[in-house]
Amino acid sequence: MDSEMQIIRLFALLLMVLEWTRPGLSSPLRPICDLRVLDHFIKEAWDAEAAMRTCKDDCSIATNVTVPLTRVDFEVWEAMNIEEQAQEVQSGLHMLNEAIGSLQISNQTEVLQSHIDASIRNIASIRQVLRSLSIPEYVPPTSSGEDKETQKISSISELFQVHVNFLRGKARLLLANAPVCRQGVS
């Protein structure tokens, strides 16, 4: 009798623990189709770009960093499928994350540091938004080597210009045309 009760207690405890930890795949995120979320990040990127525009002499990067190309040709973009668009956006975000992340090492003023931190946080949030829309994750290039859609920059102001233009352009276009969001809209 006692042993049976013990087993039942253990079973209940196990269920509780499993429910709490939820190992394995978590439940799918609710899709974030509202573009105002991304617009908020873009506004903060604008603020960072304006702040970085003013600092010229102090804001220089030691080595050139690789950042994505931000140009959008609508005819070309429309010809791409969703996976290609997703890959382009995800790789671009990855590059920007690395480039802006590398800035944390060098000495910066508090204001600039706050913009850098905000940009890193926003890129992570945009990745979460893409995940909620079931956009494929970033896959590092294996054989192609140098990505076509990249450029090299040497100043922090250029970096944040690229950052804001990339979010306004490719990232926003991808979110605006996500298949998950268009399914609900007739």
Binding site: L35, D39, I42, K43, L69, T70, R71, V72, D73, F74, E75, Q151, N165, F166, R168, G169, K170, R172, L173, A176
Partner: protein, 509 residues
């Protein structure tokens, strides 16, 4: 042949030029607008995801043609490209411009444009294409009334630009027709607006224009749409009139209330008349002496007669004729016969005197009254019993008039000293007896007091309740009770004719 061919080529060229220069419906207006608003030398705008145009004005006083100019553009990380220059004459502003329609529009990247005249750099500019958006004005502007007072609904369709239609803001301008004063309202991400606070039953003109919101795309305000006219619904009730009516009603209510309050005593008297009380005739009787009539009488003895005269003028009592019955008891009969015998010798009998003698006899023999049926009439006569004894209280009370109950007082032989205005019956302690079968009638002329030994009662039966408390209030209660018993079965008229004042008699009931 060659001439014909060259002519045809010219015609085709002109047509192509016309086609190129026409562009969209609003091309010329956009150019004209940017001439006004844009300060840069090279003015560029993009109308959608393509249709990217840059132009510059012809310098005054020069005769350069489009062949003199070269337009180059360089996107970031791309090679320099050339663009064909064309010219356009604006009829609206009477000016000439040279323009270039760029074949490729790349957004979100930097672009450098240059204008060379005869190989020399004239103008240059660096810009981003997504920042120079100048779309067509909104389409299908509709204005209608929902029926609500002072409101109009406006709706429209965004310009036909892909990818950009979710980043646009709109401005709605409205004004009364034929008026120059207009109001502007802005709305974001919505293609509908409700105009409020409008005048009822008025014709309004409405215009709409559009511009990128500035987050992802930037640009210029489009031109206004053609005005759409609509009429607001008529007003239901002028609030001023309603307010005036309410004020008038309030004022009338105040006036009526003032009138009522100022004449409230009069109105109260008419609606709720006072029950008359004799208190004003007996000053101080109820307030000072608490209804003790004897005390009050003793205090006010000096001025009694004066008041009684006044009383007589107000309520004139009439004399009360006291008659005696013919039928007498045997004793009395014997007495009467004796008297008559005595008188018969005199030879002259005066009928009026026999009554006085009779009364005197009664005074001597009070018991005879109990057996006699003196004054047994039922209407207007009273029997006066002045006995000094107090033996037959019970008998007396059985037949007692209510008036007796009112006029009980101490003292036995002081009948002569009655001073009340109405000639109150000063009764001895026990035996003042009045026939219950009689009632008092309102005499019409004053009744002078007669000889001593009699208490004369001048009663004014005006419905006034006279409540004179005797020595002890308990006695009056007792008396009252008994008298009521008597009244109940003996003479209903008394019950009717003698309403007692409330303060004394309530206990008796």
């Amino acid at each position: 042949m060659t001439k014909m061919r060259s002519d045809r080529l010219k015609i085709v060229f002109m047509l192509c030029l016309a086609f190129v220069t026409s562009g969209g419906k609003y091309f010329e207006s956009k150019v004209a607008q940017l001439i006004r608003d844009e300060t840069e030398d090279i003015k560029c705008f993009v109308e959608g995801k393509k249709d990217f145009t840059c132009f510059w004005e012809k310098e005054d006083g020069t005769n350069y043609s489009q062949d003199n100019y070269t337009f180059t553009y360089t996107y970031m990380n791309e090679n320099k490209m050339d663009c064909a220059v064309s010219s356009l004459f604006l009829l609206s502003s009477n000016r000439s411009v040279f323009f270039c329609k760029l074949p490729k529009a790349l957004f979100f990247t930097s672009l450098d444009v240059q204008v060379l005249r005869d190989g020399q750099m004239l103008y240059n500019r660096s810009l981003n294409v997504e920042n120079i958006l100048l779309t067509d004005p909104p389409r299908n502007v509709t204005v209608w009334s929902s029926g609500k007072e002072g409101q109009l609904n406006v709706s429209w369709l965004p310009p036909a630009v892909k990818y950009i239609d979710d980043s646009l803001i709109y401005e709605v301008r409205y004004a009364v027709e034929d008026s120059h004063m207009g109001k502007v309202e802005e709305t974001k991400a919505s293609t509908m607006l409700v105009l409020r606070g409008l005048q009822p039953d008025t014709r309004y003109k409405v215009w709409v224009r559009v511009k990128p919101d500035g987050v992802s795309y930037k640009g210029y305000w489009s031109s206004w749409t053609s005005p759409v006219i609509a009429v607001t619904p008529p007003g239901s009730m002028d609030p001023l009139i309603v307010l005036l009516v309410v004020f008038i009603i309030l004022i009338l209510c105040l006036l009526s209330m003032t009138v009522i309050l100022s004449h409230h005593k009069f109105l109260l008297k008419k609606l709720w008349p006072d029950i008359p009380t004799p208190e004003h005739k007996f000053p101080g009787l109820f307030t000072v002496y608490k209804g003790d009539f004897k005390e009050w009488m003793s205090q006010n003895s000096g001025s009694m007669w004066a008041r009684s005269v006044q009383m007589y003028t107000e309520e004139l009592p009439s004399p009360l004729e006291v008659l005696s019955e013919v039928s007498l008891s045997p004793l009395d009969e014997r007495k009467l016969v004796r008297d008559e015998d005595q008188r018969s010798d005199s030879g002259l009998t005066e009928p009026p005197h026999w009554l006085m003698e009779q009364l005197r006899a009664l005074q001597e023999n009070p018991e005879s009254l109990s057996r006699s049926t003196l004054l047994q009439s039922h209407d207007t006569y009273i029997t006066l019993n002045h006995s000094s004894g107090g033996q037959r209280e019970d008998d007396v009370f059985e037949e007692t008039l209510p008036l007796q109950t009112l006029f009980t007082s101490a003292g036995t032989s002081s009948i002569n000293a009655s001073h009340s205005d109405l000639g109150s019956l000063r009764q001895s302690s026990a035996s003042g007896r009045l026939s219950s079968q009689s009632s008092f009638e309102d005499p019409n002329h004053p009744w002078p007091p007669k000889g001593p030994g009699y208490a004369y009662m001048a009663v004014a039966d005006s419905g006034v309740s006279l409540d004179y408390s005797p020595m002890s209030s308990s006695r009056i209660i007792e008396i009252g009770k008994r008298s009521f018993y008597a009244n109940e079965y003996k003479n209903e008229i008394f019950g009717y004719k003698w309403p007692f004042s409330a303060q004394q008699v309530q206990s008796g009931y």
